[in-house]
């Protein structure tokens, strides 16, 4: 009996998700999500990206179980061992297990990407939307600031910021966030300009909606897809910048496991111990690529023209 109940419940859920006679707001929203999910998963490349990102999240969550050794325990008798059954990816110059450090490094990477998203998304959107919607001198001032920041290469700017803020992972994230909101703000402003004069925004304004309400209820839903896509596509460069800062000693401080810093410390032993740079390098490459693939997939799904 229970065998029967499960497929039929799934069947009903599916029917509910594709039914054209929508009966509640929850169903309408669920259907939108479902449609998006289905079209995302119809592209194999996007699925690959999604799977890798999911693997990154799982690795970060279950790091203590996935790691075979303590990532911080040094053992100078076991330095620079080749990959073996005991140490899958070998050990580093201080005798720490590379695999375990890589797994814990996923936490750092995830921490960086989430933190940057949480900082950059809202800031970039708000600045862009306010500039675009208010226009006039507000627009001029906000966009000049944005332009100034845009004019510097982001790694140089991040370097300057993190040098002045002092080394450390939190400061590195802050420095990166400060350098990548300008393009997001530009994007949000461009989108806002295209909808600001639309009839539906005019209708809301004539009914007395405040600027906050219009930005939140009318402009945000229009900008959100492109901002999400932009941020996802940016993730690759965030990870690389974070790695670069780590590489230069301005990011995560030892002994925290961070892929960029790991690759950097391995470069002295590049000839004798290729595994020290290769595995963190591959991890950075894979995850950056996965975010790029996912971003491309999301672009197709979230494009309002496909809605």
């Amino acid at each position: 009996m229970t065998d029967m109940a499960v497929p039929s419940r799934r069947h009903r859920l599916h029917a509910w998700l594709v039914d054209e006679e929508v009966t509640s707001g929850r169903q309408a929203r669920a259907q939108q999500w479902y449609r998006g999910f289905r079209s995302l998963t119809s592209s194999p490349v996007a699925v690959l990206g999604l799977l890798i990102v999911a693997a990154l999240i799982l690795a970060a969550l279950f790091a203590p179980w996935l790691a075979t050794h303590d990532p911080y325990r040094q053992d100078l008798t076991l330095t620079l061992l080749r990959p073996s059954a005991e140490h899958w990816m070998g050990t580093d110059e201080l005798g720490r297990d590379v695999w375990s450090r890589l797994v814990y490094g996923a936490r750092t990477t995830l921490y960086i990407t989430i933190l940057v998203t949480v900082i950059v998304g809202p800031i970039g959107f708000l600045i862009g939307a306010v500039a675009g919607y208010a226009g006039g001198w507000v627009d001029v001032i906000l966009m000049r600031v944005t332009d100034i920041l845009l004019a510097f290469p982001s790694l140089v700017l991040a370097l300057a910021f993190s040098a002045s803020l002092g080394p450390g992972i939190g400061n590195a994230v802050l420095a990166i966030a400060l350098t990548i909101w300008p393009p997001v703000a530009r994007l949000a402003r461009a989108e806002t300009l295209t909808v600001r004069n639309s009839d539906y925004v005019a209708a809301a304004r004539l009914q007395g909606a405040s600027m906050g309400r219009i930005i939140r209820r009318h402009i945000l839903p229009i900008c959100l897809p492109s901002i999400i896509v932009r941020l996802t596509l940016n993730m690759a460069s965030v990870i690389l910048t974070a790695a670069g800062l780590g590489f230069l000693g301005l990011g995560a401080q030892p002994p925290i496991a961070e892929w960029g810093a790991m690759a950097a410390s391995g470069r002295e032993y590049l000839i004798d111990a290729w595994w020290l740079t290769t595995f963190p390098g591959l991890a950075i490459l894979t995850v950056s690529m996965a975010f790029n693939l996912l971003g491309d997939g999301l672009r197709d799904v979230l494009d309002p023209r496909n809605g």
Partner: protein, 248 residues
């Protein structure tokens, strides 16, 4: 109900300043439908936008229900007196809001109680089934969208409705539905309409009085009877009327 005197509407600044509407005056009594017809670009939408408050760069006097409105600042009371239905049913509704939240928006803005029940009542009023509440605009047709924007305009019980070519994007069968709906609402609620249209057939069907605009001015004002009987003075009005009568 609507009392417009010497309305001038401008766009742009400085040397680019453009005088789109020049000294337009007309009056619409309570429960009456006034039609604005005329050349494309003659300023019909500009008149509506100025009265509704979408455009603020105008001079002259606009009185709604006896009280005059200021171009720059509008009170909540002013806002609740007047609603506008835009020409393009595709552009007038937010593509990412459900029909229900589109209609509920004015209710929420003005903090009215129980938006849910009001939305259902409004949907029924514009002859849409209650389940449409959860649909997104891309799931309904052009005529249904136009009815959604009419429902939104009715939400605040405003006595005045400005209609900017409400049916020009609709096919005649849906146009007939929308026009009938507007007539029913007018007789039920005593609404006052100010309506822009290009279709002389629609004008003759809906409007009690008509103002013919050209180049920012009203060149002739006439009643429906005069239009139907052909008592028109201006050659442009004659041309409009004759083309409309050129039916096989």
């Amino acid at each position: 109900m609507i009392d417009v005197e010497n309305l001038n509407v401008f766009y742009g600044r400085g040397a680019q300043r453009f005088h789109a509407v020049r000294g337009v005056s007309f009056r619409v009594a309570r429960g009456e439908t006034y039609g604005l017809v005329g050349e494309s670009g003659s300023g019909k939408s500009s008149v509506l936008n100025a009265i509704a408050g979408r455009h603020t760069d105008w001079t002259g006097s606009v009185r709604l229900d006896g009280t005059s409105v200021d171009p720059m600042r509008r009170t909540t009371v002013d806002r609740r007196k007047i609603q506008i239905v835009f020409q393009d049913p595709y552009g007038a509704i937010h593509p990412r809001h459900t029909v229900g939240s589109t209609i509920a928006e004015p209710l929420e803005i003005h903090g009215l109680p129980d938006p849910g029940a009001t939305v259902e009542r409004l949907l029924a009023q514009v002859c849409l089934p209650p389940r449409f509440r959860w649909r997104y605009p891309h799931q309904i047709s052009g005529g249904q969208r136009q009815r959604v924007s009419i429902a939104r305009a009715l939400a605040l019980d405003s006595p005045i409705l400005l209609l900017d070519e409400p049916t020009s994007a609709l096919d005649v069968s849906v146009q007939a539905e929308v026009l009938n709906l507007l007539q029913d609402l007018r007789s039920e609620r005593g609404l006052t309409y100010l309506m822009v249209t290009h279709d002389m057939g629609v004008v003759g069907h809906m409007c009690d009085r008509i103002g013919v605009m050209r180049d920012g001015q009203i060149i002739e004002e006439l009643t429906r009877e005069a239009l139907i009987a052909g008592r028109v003075a201006h050659p442009y009005t004659k041309e409009l009327r004759e083309t409309a009568l050129l039916v096989g």
